[in-house]
């Protein structure tokens, strides 16, 4: 049996590995993204390729070195570059002399059953549905807990406590093999996280929404753990992008898209690929929900996000919500980001205090 690998995106490896394991395939999870991954990726990628491309390539090289034989990768046919990643990555890896099979998940996938069979061999079809269910449950549990983590970091008892609980949770959910147990584990850790609640670190609740390109929003290594930093600064973070939400949207099962399009319509009339329109739409929605600020994350030279970056200042002005755009590439340094975040959060705090007026006495 050939060994399967796939790129990292935050904790996505847990459900993906569960899916393949349930089907009886062996998987090679690439080593956690590190400086080495990035260096490998940067070394062999085209220089203007966006950051996710480079990290993915680094993942693949590290996984192939560990004996992976099949690469499963996402694809697409939209105007975002992601749809063409796999083709170029395959060419680069072959040029480097690796031998492997590249399997791309994209529309029109099932029209070529022969290829699927050639790559994976016999697929136990009766186990496809249970495997998908298992993966989905794990993904949903992770997303639900993480949503809580984003909120509770701002008001944890001991610094770093919530992170520790979350890491333990991921470890445990990764090891589970039964669907029923997922629910129990989720409940247990939900309680644990809620138990760690104390006062807000800043004394008031500051809520920041994160919008932008999915990889940069989800993957803590590339966004320099911006959510953790915000949590440490005592900020409640929320976002619309989660793996499960994204999957629902991808399968056209989400009602969120319509709302988003309506909200964005005034500023950006049509779909521009990737999450360009989503960034605008969600910024508007979060402004309506009275959030204190919006942070946009995207890789350098990301085409859809450049459009939304040009338009976001207008959204900020008209909807009355401060927006900070952060673009990342392989040279982004954490000190710079930290300084900017601190300044931004101080600004929001001041703004909120001035708006509420009465807060001064209680401090």
């Amino acid at each position: 049996m050939k060994k399967i690998t796939f790129p990292h995106m935050a904790d996505m490896y847990v459900p993906v590995r569960a899916f393949f394991q349930e089907l009886g395939f062996e998987t090679v999870v690439p080593p956690a993204i590190s400086k080495k991954t990035l260096d490998l990726g940067v070394k062999y990628s085209p220089e203007f390729a966006c950051l996710p491309f480079k990290i993915n390539l680094g993942n693949f090289i590290e996984a192939l070195e560990r004996g992976a034989e099949i690469i499963v990768m996402g694809g697409g046919c939209g105007p975002c570059r992601f749809g063409y990643y796999a083709e170029v990555q395959e060419a680069i890896l072959r040029e480097l002399g690796y031998s492997f099979e590249m399997f791309v998940i994209e529309p029109g996938l099932f029209s070529n059953y022969k290829r699927i069979r050639n790559v994976f061999g016999n697929i136990p079809f009766h186990r496809l549905l249970p495997a998908a269910r298992m993966a989905w449950k794990k993904a949903a549990a992770i997303d639900e807990i993480y949503r809580l983590v984003l909120k509770m970091r701002a008001c944890e008892k001991k610094p770093g406590q919530v992170n520790k609980i979350y890491d333990a949770f991921i470890g445990e959910i990764d090891n589970t093999v039964s669907v029923d147990k997922i629910r129990l584990i989720k409940k247990e850790y939900e309680e644990k996280i809620k138990d760690s609640k104390a006062e807000y670190k800043r004394g008031i609740e500051i809520r920041i929404a994160i919008v932008g390109e999915i990889y940069l929003v989800l993957e803590p290594f590339v966004n320099l753990e911006i959510e953790r930093r915000l949590g440490e600064l005592g900020v409640v973070v929320e976002r619309e992008l989660y793996i499960t939400n994204w999957l629902l949207d991808f399968l056209n099962l989400s009602g969120e898209r319509k709302l988003m399009e309506r909200a964005a319509g005034k500023y950006l009339a049509n779909f521009v690929g990737g999450h360009g329109q989503d960034s605008i739409g969600h910024a508007v929605i979060y402004a309506e929900k009275a959030f204190d600020g919006v942070i946009q994350l995207a890789p350098f030279t990301c085409m859809p996000e450049i459009i939304s970056r040009s338009i976001l200042p207008v959204v900020s002005r008209e909807e009355g919500i401060p927006v900070l755009s952060l673009f990342f590439d392989e040279h982004s340094a954490d000190t710079g980001i930290q300084t900017r975040l601190e300044a931004f959060v101080d600004l929001l705090e001041r703004r909120k205090i001035l708006q509420e007026g009465s807060f001064c006495e209680s401090r």
Partner: protein, 324 residues
């Protein structure tokens, strides 16, 4: 007095100018074209545009700034797709919105949706929408549309005969006949890249003219017939879903297979998304086939001297290679 409509001399101008001009003139409008790109225009554009957008868009911003006070309306079509299964670069899709967000005091913007994924037919309806906006009747719009289509076809034909875009504009719109010099060195170099960068003399630092000045015969993407390009583009890789990059890729593979060319120069604007990936594929393939390829990145800080040195070195190199 007739309505003045402004067409910026940037981006899609380099693909559709004759058709646009004829269409609007037939409708009885006064077409105002911005001047050729100069330092001032680029500087103006740079000041307003987001910093990591590519150079051609900064140039476009500059042209819009030049035009906005002297015309009654601006023609900024919103390109989505130029054929079945493909898109253009996402930045074109949000172009009118970006302009509205970044530039204050714009005149009326005519922003038709150009989406040809379902065939060429919706284009006629778009033309009628525009015509009706200026109070023209069905037949005059139809006539204008027909003439525009016709001149666009002859524009494409001229290009396929090996005439550069700017010269084709002259021939079609001013009826100047251009006599092309024969190249002295008998060297053929294909310059691959987007027409909106290559044909902008100032933005591309006259890369085509400079090569021709060295006595090289320059071929561009548009000079390879479209059916050849389409055929070659699909053969090796997954369908490239950006229209213009598909053309570049097709031209490159056509060159690899059939055309005798001495070298390829790939010109890319810094930060161009589609190019960053497609260029890599062409690079890898060219290396396998032992074809000399030089990659040039252009942004607003590129210096002429550096470019000139590299071009000279490249031409010398392939000249020697050919003699050997």
């Amino acid at each position: 007095m007739s309505v003045k409509i402004g067409i910026p001399r940037a981006l899609m101008y380099h693909y559709y100018y004759p058709a646009w001009r004829v269409f609007f003139e037939e409708l009885g409008l006064n077409v105002v074209l911005s001047p050729e790109t100069n330092k001032d225009i680029i500087d103006q554009g740079m000041r307003i545009a987001v910093d990591d957008i590519c150079l051609p868009f900064k140039v476009y911003y500059g042209h819009i700034l030049y035009l906005k006070d002297i015309v009654d309306c601006l023609f900024v079509p919103r390109f989505i797709s130029l054929g079945k299964y493909n898109y253009v670069c996402p930045k074109f899709m949000g172009l009118p919105d970006m302009l509205k967000a970044n530039i204050a005091g714009l005149p009326d913007i005519i922003e038709p949706f150009i989406d040809l994924r379902k065939g060429i037919f919706p284009l006629r309806r778009t033309a009628h929408d525009i015509g009706r906006r200026f109070g023209r009747n069905y037949f005059s719009i139809e006539r204008a549309y027909g003439k525009a289509r016709k001149i666009h076809r002859s524009f494409i034909e001229l290009q396929e005969k090996g005439i550069h875009t700017n010269e084709a504009f002259e021939m079609l719109l001013k009826n100047n006949n251009i006599i092309r010099r024969e190249s002295e060195k008998n060297l053929n170099i294909a310059v691959l890249g987007h027409a909106y960068l290559l044909n902008d003399y100032f933005a591309s630092m006259g890369i085509i003219k400079r090569l021709e000045g060295m006595g090289v015969c320059v071929r561009t993407v548009e000079m390879y017939r479209k059916c050849w390009r389409e055929k070659a583009a699909d053969k090796y890789h997954k369908r490239v879903f950006w229209y213009f990059n598909r053309q570049v890729m097709g031209a490159a593979y056509h060159i690899f297979e059939k055309d005798s060319i001495d070298g390829i120069v790939q010109v890319t604007a810094f930060g161009c998304g589609p190019d960053s990936l497609v260029r890599e594929l062409i690079d890898i393939e060219g290396k396998k086939r032992k074809i000399s390829i030089m990659n040039i990145n252009i942004d607003e800080h590129s210096a002429e001297a550096g470019l000139m040195t590299r071009l000279e070195a490249f031409v010398d190199l392939i000249e020697r290679r050919k003699m050997a």
